[in-house]
């Protein structure tokens, strides 16, 4: 007869491998944190006082304000687009469901270069309008605009994935029980997709904290730009580390907020969803809505591609195509390895966080701490993560230094939270009772996971892979420091060509970067929307 104590002991024992693997992942990811704390401790009281007094308050306002505005806007745009393309009879919705995710392929710093050029003081828009001067796009508005355009796909991808996985009969049942359309939507669909929406906006919020290129091109100071400044002129990592530690605190705050958001979604369904299609008829509203979707796509996809294309044409013939092929191959290689490693390494952490939650209401303290450790460094500037790995490998594992493996490790550390958020969002939709039922039928814990939970998780693993890949393929600051000698990626080339402030020279590399991202993204998405399992 199994007593409660024996059951608890068995549960602990079963959790041990999970804890060990999640612990190993958390340890790897907390290396940059460790570095920041050690360095920040080296900042004298004077440095701290000067920073706290003069820099930190303004930066907090700037950074938090930007994050809030961008999160709110991406949530509205991303969730709205997802609902339109998954659940309504919007014209061309299949094609649109792919197109709406594609702006993720355009790095925000490339988008910022394009918009600084088009909307800038001597830009194409001014010439087109024939006016003397446009309102300046630089500052908060420009930074928010660019970040929203190129990060809303995080929300869109997670939200549309969750909507697809969600059985539409729930909303219909609510409507059948006499609830109005909007109320039914709010009561069921919104509530069930809250984890995905929370995960998506968390990704956006964390991205805003970590962005350097777009905000600095838009001339807006956030923690990241000032950390670079500290590190830059001062050659003194202490001040940079001190500011970084504030950034880590902000990240933890955001993660806490994300957990709170996700709490609202403590519902699960008992199947794989998508039993059938349910389409809500829009009537005449479909045309203005379609125009709205096209406006977003025009700004976030068409215009940047056209501008990059025209720059590339301008420099065509000067470039050696074979070289570009090599850089593209490098980018693909390092990003594929990073995305593969990240989705695998995120699993134990996500299972720990989501599985515990389903069983006991909230993850226990150990799970929570491991989850935080694995994600707290997400917003750290890439150069800080890179310097941490330089410091640690040159001292303790020198053979690893200067290898591709170290660069991949840096990418995993930087982007693991994306995979954790994505997989966690998927896991919360899978009822814990399914795994329990499988175990009740005699399957081992691992077998139950592998044969019942994992297949149901495949869509969110695929999305996580795509998101990490797409973020990794445009990574610049850590790549600059850690790349093996002679290993140039496309973002490195964009940076190299744009260093003198010339946009056109960077055109071909930037366009190529967008293309190598768009093609895999397109394949992945069109397979998915065709109803086949994603290619993983």
């Amino acid at each position: 007869m199994s007593t409660r104590r024996q059951r608890a002991a068995r549960a602990r024992e079963a959790r041990a491998p999970l804890l060990v693997s999640a612990g190993a992942v958390a340890l790897l990811c907390s290396l940059p944190l460790l570095y920041v704390l050690v360095r920040a401790a080296g900042a004298g009281a004077g440095t701290w006082a000067a920073l706290l007094d003069r820099r930190v308050p303004g930066l907090l306002v700037n950074t938090i304000g930007l994050a809030l505005v961008v999160v709110a806007a991406t949530l509205a745009i991303g969730a709205g687009l997802a609902y339109l393309v998954v659940r309504t009879d919007l014209p061309a919705r299949r094609a649109l469901s792919v197109l709406c995710a594609l702006p993720l392929a355009i790095p925000p710093y490339v988008g910022a270069v394009v918009y600084a050029d088009v909307l800038g003081p001597r830009g194409a828009l001014r010439d087109a309008l024939g006016v003397e001067e446009l309102p300046s796009i630089f500052g908060f508005a420009g930074a928010a605009f660019v970040l929203v355009l190129f990060t809303y796909p995080y929300v869109f991808l997670l939200a549309s994935g969750a909507l697809r996985a969600l059985d539409p009969s729930l909303e219909e049942a609510a409507r059948g029980l006499g609830r109005g359309g909007i109320v039914a939507l709010a009561l069921t669909t919104l509530r069930m997709t809250a984890p995905a929406l929370g995960g998506g906006s968390l990704l956006v919020g964390l991205y805003v904290l970590s962005d350097f290129g777009a905000v600095s091109l838009m001339r807006f100071d956030t923690f990241t730009t000032v950390i670079y400044e500290e590190l830059g002129g001062r050659f003194d990592p202490a001040g940079a580390a001190a500011l970084s530690s504030v950034l880590v605190a902000l990240t933890l705050l955001l993660l806490g907020a994300g957990r709170w958001l996700r709490r609202g979604g403590g519902y699960a369904q008992a199947g794989g969803g998508r039993a059938r299609e349910s389409v809500r008829e829009l009537g005449l509203a479909r045309w203005p809505l379609l125009a709205g979707v096209c406006a977003v796509l025009g700004a976030a996809l068409v215009l940047p591609l056209v501008r990059l294309g025209s720059w590339s044409v301008a420099t065509f013939g000067e470039e050696d195509l074979a070289e570009y092929g090599g850089w593209a191959a490098n980018s693909l290689l390092v990003s594929t390895l990073a995305a593969g490693a990240a989705v695998i390494m995120a699993l134990p952490v996500a299972v720990l966080l989501a599985g515990e939650r389903a069983r006991a209401g909230v993850p226990d303290r150990t799970a929570r701490v491991l989850g935080w450790l694995a994600q707290a460094g997400y917003a750290l500037p890439g150069v800080i993560v890179a310097l941490a790995l330089v410091a640690i490998t040159t001292r303790f594992v020198e053979p690893l230094y200067g290898t591709l493996a170290l660069l991949v490790a840096a990418f995993v550390i930087r982007f693991l939270p994306q995979a954790i958020q994505g997989e966690q969002a998927g896991l919360t939709l899978v009822a814990a009772s399914l795994g329990e039922a499988a175990r009740g039928l005699g399957a081992g814990r691992a077998a139950a996971f592998a044969r019942v939970v994992l297949p149901l998780l495949r869509p969110s693993v695929a999305v996580s892979f795509a998101v990490v890949f797409l973020t990794a393929v445009k990574e610049l600051p850590a790549t600059l420091v850690l790349r093996p000698l002679g290993f140039d990626t496309l973002p490195v080339r964009v940076w190299t060509e744009a260093r003198n402030g010339l946009s056109a020279d960077a055109g071909p590399a930037a366009l190529m970067l967008v293309l190598v991202s768009i093609v895999p993204l397109y394949v992945l998405l069109s397979r998915r929307s065709g109803g086949e399992p994603p290619p993983l």
Binding site: D221, L337, M345, L502
Partner: protein, 337 residues
């Protein structure tokens, strides 16, 4: 079925990561006589042609890691004596001087090629090419004769500068402090701040913004003006404060040094020798519009010869030593914030 599949997965991913590093050559390139590793804060466009030529001439394989000078300095500081770099090329002298201060450079013994003013006192780094700090003025701008007039209200909203973390900018402020005193420097910077000096990301952004007419005047190194002109922008270089006894324009250098733990030190010396030959120095001038550091070489057409320029009388070593104090001042004034 294994119940440890999660551990296996985690391990697999680690192995995957480790495996893809296994085939790479070890760091630094060992003591291969045919190799040389350079960290370069100078732009690829400006210096790679010379590395290529050196490689062709000597058969030495030159591997270059490009980056922003501060990032590369930070990298070498973390790497310490395990650095991959044999040679460090900086956009300025301050980065190399920081490495010198940390004892991470070794003396370059044929340093007498460089005039004493353009190298470290202990011969640990040498200048490669020179530049002066000028104003870039756009079409229709009415630039001042003195840089100190920029605090005048008539230039309000019309001045752009690179971030204070830009070392050339910082050294310019150091020169003002050393020549005119801290109180003067502070009130001048506060005047610039009152005039809404716009702080942009770097020199590239500044010269672009002035070339496009967004600002009348920018604070840059002289060769950026020539680069803009070459691209067809209607801008001119203003050498300020040129009268007798006036402030003049500060002079600074791009520089190079050999790391203490260089594994290819002989090739490193060869490379610096090569960069200091008259032929290469002439091409620094002709291609990049810089000032050659060897005596008696000509500058590019359009660039004012050094003997016609009134230079600020502050040696490079004093600029490097003043950096910390200037940072504190810039922190307090908080330009552009």
């Amino acid at each position: 079925m294994t119940r440890h599949s999660l551990i296996v997965m985690a391990l697999l991913s680690t192995v995957l990561v480790a495996a893809c590093g296994g085939s790479d050559p070890p760091t630094g390139g060992g003591a291969d006589p045919g190799k040389l590793v350079v960290y370069s804060g100078r732009e690829e466009e400006l210096i790679q042609p010379f590395f290529d030529e050196f490689a062709d001439k000597t058969g030495v394989e030159v591997q270059v890691k490009y980056g922003d000078t501060p990032d590369l300095v930070a990298t070498v500081l973390e790497e310490g004596d395990r650095t991959q770099a044999d040679v460090f090329v900086g956009q300025d002298a301050a980065g190399l001087d920081k490495l010198r201060g940390e004892g991470l450079l070794q003396p370059y013994d044929r340093i007498e090629r460089t005039p004493a003013a353009y190298r470290a006192a202990d011969n640990s780094w040498t200048g490669l090419s020179g530049r002066v700090r000028v104003l870039i003025a756009g079409e229709g701008a009415n630039p001042p004769d003195s840089v100190f007039d920029l605090a005048d209200p008539r230039f309000k909203g019309e001045i752009a500068a690179p971030k204070s973390s830009n070392v050339s900018f910082r050294d310019w402020v150091s020169a003002i402090r050393l020549e005119r005193g801290d109180a003067f420097a502070r009130s001048y910077l506060e005047g610039l701040e009152r005039n809404e000096l716009e702080v942009l990301d770097g020199h590239g952004e500044v010269r672009k913004a002035v070339g496009e007419g967004e600002f009348d005047i920018g604070l840059v190194n002289h060769y950026y003006v020539e680069l803009s002109k070459r691209e067809g922008a209607k801008v001119q270089a203003i050498y300020t404060d040129q009268g007798d006894g006036q402030f003049g324009v500060p002079f600074n250098v791009a520089s190079a040094g050999i790391t203490k733990s260089a594994q290819n030190a002989a090739n490193a010396r060869k490379l610096i020798d090569f960069l200091l030959t008259p032929a290469v120095q002439r091409r620094f001038a002709a291609n990049n519009y810089e000032y050659p550091l060897l005596e008696g070489l000509e500058v590019a057409p359009g660039v004012k010869p050094l003997d016609e320029v009134e230079l600020t009388d502050v040696p490079l070593s004093r600029l490097a030593a003043a950096a910390d104090g200037t940072d504190r001042l810039l922190d307090q004034v908080a330009l552009g914030s």
